[in-house]
């Protein structure tokens, strides 16, 4: 399955819409276990991504991915900025060798894990990314939802929620939820939903 510039542009547009529509919800999820700004941070980043893609019009995959990465890194801040930014930066690097979506996403997962030091089960966005990537190319919406929901019962080991220890159990991880939107948007962009 190949990632084209057109699919990527659609993907980002759909993701930006989801983040914008769910901005308050994402921040609310972040309130009991973090500091309540995940929605605002991601929305600020995706506005920057959309603007950058529209004004600079990259026509080539590597350039597009790099532009997305830099927009996220320079606008989101917090932990989400470097994590999402690193994911797209790793995809940009890998896209010089291959345009295969699964290989790109695998590189992204490795990058996220290296940047944040989190592993599967730490109640972070890795819990969605890692699971989802192994399900490709048959990934379904239900599988994404399941991966997101599974973070609810975990105890956080990384990120601000980790300071709460057991008290983090029972809350969805906001980064996992926004990652869920990202993959939902990808399925839609590919015309599979």
């Amino acid at each position: 399955m190949e990632l084209t510039v057109e699919t990527l542009n659609n993907w980002m547009e759909l993701f930006a819409q989801k983040v914008s529509a769910n901005k308050s919800y994402l921040s609310e999820l972040d309130t009991p276990i973090g500091d309540g700004d995940h929605g605002n941070n991601m929305a600020r980043g995706m506005v920057a991504v959309t603007e950058a893609l529209q004004t600079k019009h990259p026509t080539e995959l590597t350039a597009s991915l790099k532009l997305i990465a830099m927009s996220l890194i320079s606008k989101v801040g917090g932990a989400a900025g470097p994590l999402y930014g690193t994911a797209f930066l790793e995809m940009a690097k890998t896209s010089q060798q291959t345009t295969d979506l699964v290989e790109l996403l695998q590189a992204a997962v490795l990058g996220i894990k290296k940047r944040g030091g989190a592993k599967l089960g730490d109640k972070t966005l890795v819990d969605v990314w890692e699971v989802v990537v192994t399900k490709f190319p048959e990934l379904t919406s239900q599988q994404i939802e399941q991966a997101v929901l599974a973070t609810k019962d975990l105890e956080a080991k990384k990120g601000r929620a980790s300071y709460l220890g057991e008290r983090s159990i029972g809350h969805l991880d906001p980064g996992a939820v926004s990652s869920g939107y990202l993959f939902e948007a990808l399925l839609e962009a590919e015309g599979r939903l």
Binding site: T31, D37, S74, G81, G85, R115, K158, G159
Partner: protein, 331 residues
């Protein structure tokens, strides 16, 4: 939400602009960033640059501590959100006089990741960058299994000691060694009576009942470790100093510095009452702090609360560093 602001999304840029307009003799804004640097850049020659920063909302930290004898530059992130690597990178470049740059980072995952990315960028330019991750907050107990302890008000003392050492010509390696020696001797704990409201979020980070307090709350309104009914100041102080005693093992023959820090909405009157109780409690242990600061140093917007920091002065030089003259807005 009731705040004296214009646009919630513009609070940081307007704050930084206001800061440099008010204090041009101390600060300059780095173009296209929300980072500030010492106005007297020429006198930084020959010194290792010292850069810190973090989310905004902790004023006067960190920009208030930029100046001769303390930080070279500070990067102001969005409210309670780490600054981005491109901004930190600009601050590093502007602070380097050829002797390298030392970063003081609070132990929050976002801060650590963004500063590390900035370090990578600066190293591509051939700038030697080292760092310390301050983790003075003892509220988190099972730190082995989590992110580790948070960096809170004690960070300001780290700024002061390293700033004095850098001003006296310490090398990057010497600063690194000093920072590592300070870390285990620097401990903080706080209590909160109410949470802060991030302007873009519009409501408080948590809600406490009228008569409730929370121990160990973080500087971004992250919940702490225990909630209970409000008690008299001296009982709060006894719990906090008791915890600090467990962490540092207070000893009459040793010297200590004490920082009493208001979180933003705690009047100085209450801070001085806490100061009174703290000195009395320490006296029982036959300890009189040889250095003390009381005031708002690391705030959390309008959070009501207070933190106590103790630094065991392991080396006689550390007291000299604390007393070394600085010219900053807020020290």
């Amino acid at each position: 939400m009731k705040k004296i602001i214009n646009e919630p999304s513009q609070v940081v840029s307007e704050m930084v602009a206001g800061l440099v307009l008010a204090y041009p003799e101390y600060l300059e804004q780095l173009p296209e960033t929300t980072a500030v640097i010492r106005h007297d850049k020429a006198s930084m020659q020959g010194q290792v640059g010292l850069v810190s920063g973090g989310g905004s909302g902790h004023e006067p930290a960190h920009a208030g501590f930029v100046g001769p004898g303390m930080l070279s530059a500070a990067v102001c992130g969005q409210v309670f959100t780490s600054p981005t690597p491109d901004q930190i990178y600009e601050a590093i470049k502007a602070s380097d006089t050829g002797h390298g740059v030392f970063l003081i980072i609070k132990n929050y995952s976002g801060d650590v990741m963004n500063f590390e990315m900035a370090k990578d960028l600066a190293e591509l330019d051939g700038i030697d960058v080292r760092f310390v991750i301050v983790d003075d907050d003892i509220a988190v107990e099972n730190s082995l299994y989590t992110q580790g302890r948070r960096g809170v008000a004690g960070t300001v003392l780290m700024h002061k000691l390293l700033g004095a050492a850098a001003a006296k010509g310490a090398s990057l390696t010497e600063l690194e060694q000093l920072a590592q020696a300070i870390l285990p001797k620097l401990k903080t704990i706080g209590v909160a009576l109410s949470a802060a409201t991030v302007p873009e979020v519009g409501k408080p980070g948590f809600v406490l009942a009228e008569d409730e307090i929370e121990y160990g709350v973080g500087i971004h309104s992250e919940p702490g470790y225990r909630r209970e009914k409000l008690r008299p100041a001296k009982e709060l102080v006894a719990e906090m100093l008791g915890k600090l005693d467990e962490a540092l093992v207070l000893t009459p023959t040793k010297k200590y510095a004490l920082l009493i820090n208001g979180m933003g909405a705690t009047p100085l009157m209450e801070q001085y009452i806490v100061s009174h109780d703290a000195f009395l409690w320490l006296k029982e242990k036959q300890i009189t702090p040889v250095f003390c600061k009381v005031g708002n140093y690391m705030t959390s917007l309008e959070m009501a609360g207070i933190s106590l920091t103790l630094l065991e002065l392991d080396d006689a030089k550390w007291l000299d560093y604390l007393n070394y003259p600085v010219a900053t807005i807020a020290w």
